[in-house]
């Protein structure tokens, strides 16, 4: 029995939801993904509760300290160990079944270990007092320690945690994907739905892994240098270049921006692979694979440098030319989205749709992603960003992109769950989850964008001036609905029923 299967089996409550079906001979592609998906949902519970605490601290005046602690933990837990890990688990399961290779070995174990250990260590650092938000705001960690706001020990612990999380996303996971796609022999018994790299359903997986590796390597170099200096292995004089705020910020955002884009590429790819399975006429064909691939390439090419829009208000320290470039490339991603919109709707129009909960959840997540995309390109316009940067608009954009991708992956999981566990989810509960999530996520996104339009600052522990508490109350209300939708989703996982037919056969069907 795989160690991953053992860990899942011995985990209280969540273990029951993801107990691996060993009767099918597919444990090699099921076990590690099951552990990753299960772990991501543990973090979702943490992130979800913290997300509700944030507005509650403002409404009940619990103090700014609590707000900034929950802000840091909520953002970090939601983005990395929940969203990225969920994507990693479902994505690897897809890849394994598409190329007929096992999801096992050192890289699989390291991917899980570095992500969860790193996130746990970062949590400890935040509880030690480090309040730096999900984007670190370098050099804030060092400045805070110098000012005595938090200890240098908490900075060292926090950077260690962040470094491990980055190691997962930039090195372990991409290398595992490359290993599965390009090395080792295909095993016929592991092939569930064979796909080639020419198909959009697999192309996005490859592009995303390449993006993570290539755009993340500079950050690995900077992060390694800083960490060695913090542990006093390297003299600070040799690490000064990496501690330059401008150097750190540009390398950080080169990766952080493309992390979101890579996750978008991957989920778009999963959508292109999943949608054809639910077409009413059983044709299993997209309207145009060429157009779907074009959308992925446009998204990739435009997004790599569009992250320059993060520094538009830094003028003239970021030259105007680079800001124009970031502006144009960001709107270029909109052309990728326009192509994707046409491909998806034309496919459904041409072939009809079986509206099962999994694919409907994917489509709702996709619609939320389009709302997010529209808000993202608007705030990448130079004129608009001068009035929106640093406001709740950006938080709304960030939350929406993470939530939309998570919603899509949770939809894709409906398709993979029976293969992993040999159990089936209830369609009625699935439908209830989708309804609640639709109201909660679109409501929260629109309210946060409106708050930003009204000048409500992000990461700001006082929503009382200028009447911003109205937006805060609405965010809490919609957050509670999102929380209820997750509760329904978990309940569905808990109550899943055994499938009588051998799942290996069904999966291959």
């Amino acid at each position: 029995m795989s160690i991953a299967t053992t860990i899942v089996k011995s985990t209280p409550i969540f273990g029951k939801m993801f107990a691996v079906d060993k009767s099918t001979g597919l444990e090699e592609i099921n076990a590690w993904p099951a552990l990753m998906i299960m772990s991501s949902f543990v973090w979702l519970v943490v992130a979800g509760l913290l997300g509700l605490v944030m507005p509650a601290t403002q409404i009940f005046d619990l103090g700014s300290d609590h707000f900034y602690t929950t802000l840091t933990l909520h953002g970090a837990a939601l983005t990395f160990p929940f969203s990225f890990q969920l994507m990693m688990g479902v994505g690897l399961h897809r890849s394994g079944g598409c190329v007929g290779k096992p999801v096992t070995g050192l890289f699989a174990a390291l991917s899980w270990l570095t992500m969860n250990l790193g996130a746990a260590i970062l949590t400890v650092a935040v509880l030690m007092g480090l309040k730096v938000s999900v984007v670190v705001m370098f050099p804030l960690p060092l400045v805070g320690a110098q000012m005595g706001v938090w200890s240098m020990e908490s900075v060292i612990v926090g950077f260690t945690g962040i470094y491990l999380v980055l190691a997962c996303m930039i090195l372990c996971y991409p290398l595992l994907v490359f290993k599965m796609l390009f090395f080792g022999k295909k095993r016929a018994e592991l092939v569930l739905s064979e796909r080639s790299l020419n198909e959009p359903g697999m192309l996005g997986m490859l592009l995303a892994a390449a993006t993570l590796l290539l755009t993340g390597l500079p950050l690995v170099v900077v992060g390694t240098t800083l960490l060695l200096a913090l542990y006093k292995i390297l003299p600070m004089s040799l690490a000064a270049w990496a501690a330059d705020p401008v150097v750190f910020q540009y390398t950080f955002y080169l990766f952080a921006h493309n992390l979101m884009e890579a996750m978008a590429l991957m989920v778009a790819s999963a959508m292109y692979a999943t949608l054809p399975l639910y077409l009413a006429d059983g044709s299993r064909k997209l309207y145009s694979e060429k157009l779907a691939n074009l959308a992925l390439w446009v998204l990739l090419v435009t997004s790599v440098t569009s992250g320059l829009h993060h520094f538009i208000t830094f003028y003239p320290n970021q030259p105007a030319a680079l800001s124009y470039w970031g502006n144009i490339m960001s709107w270029g991603t909109g052309m990728g989205a326009a192509i994707s919109i046409f491909t998806i709707l034309a496919t459904i129009w041409q072939h009809g749709l079986k509206p099962e909960p999994g694919i409907v959840a994917v489509l709702v997540g996709w619609a939320l992603y389009i709302l997010d995309g529209a808000s993202a390109i608007v705030t990448s316009n130079i004129a608009w960003t001068y009035q929106l940067h640093g406001t709740m608009w950006q938080s709304g954009h960030f939350m929406t992109v993470v939530l939309s991708m998570s919603l899509m992956w949770m939809g894709v999981l409906y398709h993979h769950y029976p293969v992993i566990t040999g159990r089936k989810l209830d369609a009625g509960l699935g439908s209830l989850y989708i309804k609640l999530m639709t109201v909660g996520s679109f409501g929260a996104a629109i309210v946060m964008l409106a708050g930003g339009a009204a000048g409500m600052p992000r990461r700001f522990a006082d929503w009382h001036p200028e009447g911003w508490m109205l937006y805060g109350n609405l965010i809490l209300a919609f957050g509670l609905i999102i929380g209820a939708s997750f509760a329904v989703y978990f309940y569905n996982l808990m109550k899943s029923r055994e499938i009588s037919a051998p799942m290996g056969e069904l999966a291959r069907a």
Partner: protein
């Protein structure tokens, strides 16, 4: 009208202008083809081509127009027009956790003001709010830069303009606030 479009609320409605037609169309297509008429459509892929062309052309034109029209509202591009040969009033400031040191807090309406700011410790913002609560412009400062971050802005109306840091800078970030007074021009 463009003066409104390139504000925070203009951004909100521009987003809705892109999203709402998409949402209605997507809902209609998905509902129709999953519940009302689930059978395959007889149209051939080639018959979709004109719609595809029109849709992508419309998206492209909209994107180009929205960005070209915004050029007038980019602070550094607008600066040359705003000054109109008139000398800029210089306002220098330094941001340090959690306060601003501002060289001049009283400004005359109608005169172009160049705000030049630096940070002396960590990342900070300098956002100027209109008395009605909307953000007029925001600036990002990082320590150690050779040049100050800079914006030229001409205030139109007298009043009290709040200044807030919009870059998270630690546990008292929300208290990093100041005020500018804009008076009638002599």
């Amino acid at each position: 009208m463009l003066d409104y479009v390139y504000t925070g609320w203009g951004a909100f409605w521009a987003t809705m202008f892109m999203f709402i037609p998409f949402a209605l169309m997507a809902y209609w297509v998905i509902r129709r083809k999953s519940l009302v008429d689930t059978g395959p459509t007889r149209l051939q892929p080639s018959e979709f081509a004109p719609i595809e062309g029109i849709w992508l052309t419309f998206a492209f034109i909209f994107f180009v127009v929205a960005n070209l029209a915004s050029l007038k509202f980019i602070p550094w591009a607008a600066a040359s027009g705003a000054t109109g040969g008139e000398a800029e009033v210089q306002v220098d400031f330094t941001a340090k956790s959690w306060a601003y040191d501002i060289s001049n807090r009283q400004i005359e309406a109608g005169k172009p003001v160049r705000f030049s700011g630096r940070s002396s410790d960590t990342q900070h913002g300098f956002a100027v709010y209109h008395p009605d609560g909307r953000v007029l412009f925001t600036m990002l400062m990082m320590p150690g830069t050779t040049k100050p971050t800079s914006v030229v802005y001409t205030f139109k109306e007298p009043g009290k303009y709040a200044v807030r840091c919009l870059e998270y800078c630690g546990i008292a970030h929300h208290r990093m606030q100041d005020e500018l007074t804009v008076v009638k021009s002599n």
